[in-house]
Amino acid sequence: MAGTSDPHASAFSAAELEFLAEDEMIEIVPNLRMDALNFISGDFGPFRPQIPTQAPLWLAVALKKRGKCTIRAPEWMSVDKLTQVLEAERDSDKFQPLPFHYVEISRLLFDHAQGDIPDTYMVRSLIEDIKDVRFHKIGKGLESISGGGTFALKLKNLSAMEANIVRPFVTRALETFYKLSSSDMIQETDNAPNRQQTANRGPRVSYMFMLYIVKSPTDAQRQLKDR
């Protein structure tokens, strides 16, 4: 019990993220007639054959599985858009804006509504490429975290899944910096009881991570002065 380590190495499981993504809205074209549904999570419908309407992804998938609707792929999931995003992603250090749950949404649609997505194979491989480029960028970003006094990290346009994956590294690295930079660190290490903590944290992660805006006190002060 004593000395239990970090409480939230990775706060959410992949399944839990998917659960959250299933609440995102998507357009469906029903092929049945059904009255409005008054759920705890909101009111949806009514559904009329061939009349497009909005529904949460879980509902869309449930209907799709029973052959009761077709799903319209969201706008960002077109070859044109994705090609643009991929190019921009390659050209810039920044992360391009994509839906917060883009990984989970595309995965769900590929699993359950493959036939409804135009140019499936192309779209799938574009999304894979985008994911790869972004992960590579995340990896590269780690190196720039190194300096002391890093207090906060802005993770602009990072998606839910990406943030969840980098969380254990980023949070631990920042914690370590925070501890090292705080003035009472020396007293703290004298306080023996926190034995194993210091042993397996520390420099091992410190050079590993960062994503792209680092705010150190000096940075912040410089920015303030510049204004």
Partner: protein
């Protein structure tokens, strides 16, 4: 806090509060509870309301089945019901896990103790008693006198140094629903950070704790 978007925010708050469903609220309570290092305030009213809604919905589904309503419709209501129940259960379970982990700390900190519901307090008391009993029986009673406390390493310790506490300076990933302006990060420093709507930030939990409690920022 120095908020740049001061004037419009009161009206916005009201508006967003009115348009936020219990399902949304439960989801963000669940997320915050999962991501926060310490135990948060028990969302008593929200849990109460969600329970009622679930019960109502269960009765309704029952009626639908008896009335011979289209099985497809029934199954969709059932899915919605299952999703809400999952959220509620997972929320409560996450809290129980935290209580088990930090039970001795929570017990001696009045402020944290008061964040628990009545049932949780009962659980915590019994759990703490059982753990203490177990530690005494299996190990502590066989140790020399000065090492018999389950809270301290030895009688020479000045404070309870065997009680795990939540790490409030650990980092969390958070997201604000709206622009919060320049936010002061730490007690001592002059560091300011501009918190913009819908962007993710990794920040020390204790510096944004008030924002989490007031619902301005969601942990993700």
């Amino acid at each position: 806090m120095d908020s740049g978007a001061g004037e419009s925010s009161a009206a916005d708050d009201y508006e967003s509060l009115m348009s936020t469903t219990d399902a949304e609220l439960l989801k963000s309570a669940w997320r915050n509870e999962k991501a926060a290092p310490e135990i948060l305030n028990y969302a008593a009213d929200l849990v109460q309301r969600s329970r009622q809604q679930i019960q109502l919905m269960e009765e309704m589904v029952e009626d639908y089945i008896n009335d011979g309503v289209d099985p497809l419709t029934v199954s969709l209501y059932q899915i919605d019901l299952d999703r809400t129940m999952f959220l509620l259960r997972s929320y409560l379970r996450t809290r129980l896990q935290k209580i088990e982990k930090y039970v001795f700390h929570i017990q001696k900190t009045a402020e944290e103790w008061n964040r628990l519901s009545k049932q949780e307090q009962k659980f915590a008391s019994r759990f703490a008693g059982d753990i203490k009993h177990h530690l005494d029986q299996s190990v502590l009673s066989r140790l020399p006198d000065q090492y018999q406390s389950h809270l301290r390493q030895s009688a020479a310790s000045e404070e309870d140094d065997m009680v795990p506490e939540p790490q409030l300076d650990s980092y969390v990933v958070c997201r604000s629903k709206k622009y919060l302006g320049a936010y002061q990060l730490d007690d001592g420093g002059q560091e300011l950070i501009n918190i913009e709507a819908d962007d993710l930030y990794a920040l020390p939990y204790k510096s944004i704790k008030p924002l989490v409690e007031s619902g301005q920022v969601d942990l993700v």
